[in-house]
Symmetry: C2
Amino acid sequence: QVPPVRGVALDRHQARLAILHVPDRPGMAAQIFGLLATENISVDTIIQSQRCRVINDIPTRDIAFTVAQEDAEIARNALSELAKTINCGEIIVDNAIAKVSIIGAGMIGCPGVAAQFFSALAKENINIQMITTSEIKISCVVAESDGVKALKVVHQAFDLAGKDKIHVPA
Amino acid sequence: QVPPVRGVALDRHQARLAILHVPDRPGMAAQIFGLLATENISVDTIIQSQRCRVINDIPTRDIAFTVAQEDAEIARNALSELAKTINCGEIIVDNAIAKVSIIGAGMIGCPGVAAQFFSALAKENINIQMITTSEIKISCVVAESDGVKALKVVHQAFDLAGKDKIHVPA
Ligand SMILES: C[C@@H](O)[C@H](N)C(=O)O
Ligand SMILES: C[C@@H](O)[C@H](N)C(=O)O
């Protein structure tokens, strides 16, 4: 009987970049992440949602991704040249984020687990900025100042006292 | 020497729901996914990006998630009542999507893998609608009509001929 959640992780050393208004046609994501790879910038999480906005008759989407905080400015500078070529909007950097994740092999097909995670954060008035999921991991990006509290309350919510508190060292 | 990508998966039986303009304050995600859990609706992927839009002075975010196609209308109906209470915008259902994913234990810290995935799709003129990542999986949502082609070209791009073609049966 595998508990759906076996651990909680916190990473307070990421920064988020958002590239706004990327023209929504094939090849854009490839160019952006191809460039970051050429610059040897390691990307942790990529989030692109479905929301397509038409700007000057051109359908666009925002693409967000996270990197280690020390790479944020390098990433922004690397992209600023490409930004002119692909004609996207501004690139926004937010250093004050924390990524808190629940991890477990038993999560898939357990409808309540995500809700339980979000509720634990909500009860402490922690606002969820970004959500990304896979079968073994659900991650929420919150404000960096909420990071440690988030780790604690999610830990309690899944009854993980004393075990598997995977805290990425400050 | 573990190859970063060991398999490609295609799922053409998902539908995407997008809840637009969810008031961006604690508790919203918890209520939405709590309700879906109560209705026993299994959610595959949740994507919420950073883009916050102020509407009538209220900061809002869009939340997108995918479910099995047969659950899409049940999910929409379940949420339509809650939508009035939490005062979000419309709920959009898109049944014509496919989720194509690359899977591998060796992907983390391999900056070029995501770019290679996106380039393979771009070369076939396949537009990427959504992106979500974890250490062992990168998923792109594309149009359902692009699904099989996407599986094929990504397979080729990672040189996986003959192995590990995890195709979710039609
Ligand atoms: C926005 C970006 O993802 C674009 N749709 C692409 O396929 O590259
Ligand atoms: C938009 C929604 O995710 C909200 N920020 C919450 O915390 O529930």
